[in-house]
């Protein structure tokens, strides 16, 4: 079984890396956006964004001062790793990273608004599990800032609304959100399932690298349709006008009730901060970018 202390070390390091160093697919997408952008003001902002990403990585500073909420996605083989050890490790790593990176203490009680000071509280950090029998544990940290998270949408569309209804819901939501979620965005769109499954799929799709298409033809087609529509709005970088409003759109599907068409949208700012590592039963760690 993998030691809890190793899990703490790995998760702490993943939090640090995601706060300071963007994954290469995101860096490439931002550079592409700068190449493709035609509007002068959007270009100036994208230049600042690209430079900021370089400075943060070089000097190991937080890319954005809102270091977000810690979301940990765990894909584990229960024969080599105890989920309860992961649960405890996530809490310890959150506390350690808050001190060491440092992270901004963002976690508060929802009603009293009391700040716990260490990014830990009931339900925080957020941990989500999937399981395998392949003899590995894959850990992925996603740091989610509030600016984009606050724009999250769920709509239970009538099934007859179909593709047109989904496009309309996404375009309207992006336009309504304007500059608040810090575009250029990555949009995660969960279609189907029960309501919370649509939301979960939308968020989890942000773990997929930018540019990689959805698992089935229908999802891939919808992704292309939505990306084209969102990038025709002219909203642009920070909602101040431009060609590139979204870097990508990721669609994930689940079967749903014949009377329902749940659609959820997860907004992700350009600072898509994620980092992954894979552990074997012997405790060997592979850092994935």
């Amino acid at each position: 079984m993998i030691e809890e202390s190793l899990l703490v070390d790995v998760v702490t390091r993943l939090i640090k890396r995601s706060a300071t160093t963007l994954p290469s697919d995101v860096k490439d997408a931002l550079k592409r956006a700068l190449d493709e952008e035609g509007e002068e003001l959007a270009k100036r902002q994208l230049e600042a964004i690209v430079e900021n990403v370089e400075v943060a990585e070089r000097e190991q500073l937080p890319v954005c001062q809102d270091t977000g909420l810690i979301c940990l996605y765990v894909d584990l083989d229960p024969s080599i790793c105890d989920p309860l050890a992961v649960e405890r490790a996530a809490v310890k790593a959150a506390r350690r990273a808050t001190q060491e990176v440092p992270l901004r203490p963002n976690v508060v009680h929802p009603l009293t608004r009391h700040n716990t000071g260490d990014n830990v509280g009931l339900g925080q950090p957020y941990v989500e599990y999937s399981f395998n029998r392949e003899g590995y544990v894959k850990l992925t940290v996603l740091l989610k800032g509030a600016g984009s998270e606050n724009m999250t949408k769920l709509s239970m569309l009538p099934p007859l609304a179909g593709l047109e209804g989904i496009v309309r819901f996404v375009v309207d939501s992006v336009v309504e959100a304007g500059g608040a979620p810090c575009p250029p965005l990555v949009l995660g769109v969960g279609v189907g399932g029960v309501a919370e499954e649509a939301l979960r799929l939308a968020k989890a799709s942000l773990l997929r690298p930018i540019g990689r298409r959805g698992g089935c033809e229908e999802a891939a087609k919808l992704e292309a349709l939505l990306l084209e529509a969102v990038n025709s709005t002219g909203l642009g970088c920070m909602g101040l006008g431009g060609r590139v409003t979204a870097l990508d759109v990721h669609v994930e599907l689940a079967y749903c009730h014949t009377a329902s068409l749940p659609v959820a949208i997860a907004f992700q700012c350009w600072a898509l901060r994620r980092a992954s590592a894979k552990l074997t039963s012997k405790g060997e760690v592979t850092w994935l970018s």
């Binding site: 003001l41 100036r44 902002q45 230049e47 600042a48 964004i49 430079e51 900021n52 400075v55 943060a56 000097e59 500073l61 937080p62 890319v63 954005c64 001062q65 809102d66 270091t67 440092p102 992270l103 901004r104 203490p105 700040n115 800032g145 600016g147 569309l157 009538p158 007859l160 609304a161 047109e164 209804g165 496009v167 309309r168 819901f169 375009v171 309207d172 336009v175 304007g178 500059g179 608040a180 810090c182 349709l225 529509a229 025709s232 709005t233 002219g234 909203l235 642009g236 970088c237 920070m238 909602g239 101040l240 006008g241 700012c269 350009w270 600072a271």
Partner: protein, 199 residues
């Protein structure tokens, strides 16, 4: 490249137009929701704030900072101005702030009140936290740490802080409004070509 140095005069503000890009040198006040509330509370009681704000720029941000010997700012990206826009504009009226820097802009009412105070609004790209921290030469003062690090009142000295996009000027220019109109036209066109009916 246009640069502004504090204290900023009304004449300098007058010259700027929405769409201009400037860089700031000199003193920068960094404050968000709670520091704004406390500043206004003091001013309304006729007490002087711990920082003289006349002619300065107020940046809407809550930094990540550490104290080793002195304070060091690690990350200082902008926060959403609309959360406390009325207070931000009030501060321009009562304390002579000339330039508000933030993200997302102000509502039309706050925008027109801001112009009456002979002050303008500039946008700094959201999420850009490490770059502005590099423009900070020194932390001059930090007050009200009881509010927590991000909510405290900071006075820092900056060199070439920017790019600041002037988005509200004194002459009716408002980038956010301009883009909003264009985006609405585009939205109707996109949805007209694709979806035909409202679900």
């Amino acid at each position: 490249m246009a640069e502004l140095t504090t204290p900023i005069s009304e004449g300098e503000i007058e010259k700027l137009r929405a769409g201009d890009v400037v860089y700031l040198n000199g003193l920068l006040v960094v404050a968000r929701d709670k520091a704004h509330a406390r500043l206004l509370e003091l001013l309304s009681r006729g007490q002087p704030p711990p920082i003289e704000l006349k002619g300065l720029a107020v940046y809407h941000a809550g930094p990540v900072a550490v104290k080793v010997d002195g304070w060091r700012i690690l990350s200082m990206g902008p926060t959403t101005s609309s959360r406390f826009e009325a207070k931000a504009v009030e501060l321009a009226h009562k304390a002579g702030v000339r330039l508000i820097i933030g993200k997302g802009g102000l509502n039309p009412e706050a925008t027109s009140r801001l112009r009456q105070a002979k002050a303008i609004y500039a946008s700094y790209p959201g999420g850009v936290g490490a770059l502005p921290a590099k423009s900070v030469i020194k932390v001059v003062k930090v007050e009200w740490l009881d509010l927590g690090l991000p909510e405290a009142l900071w006075l820092v000295e900056v060199r070439r802080f920017g790019p600041l996009l002037i988005s509200v000027d004194l002459h009716g220019g408002d980038l956010y409004l301009e883009v909003k109109r264009k985006v609405e036209e585009n939205r109707l066109r996109i949805l007209g070509l694709g979806p035909r009916r409202q679900p």
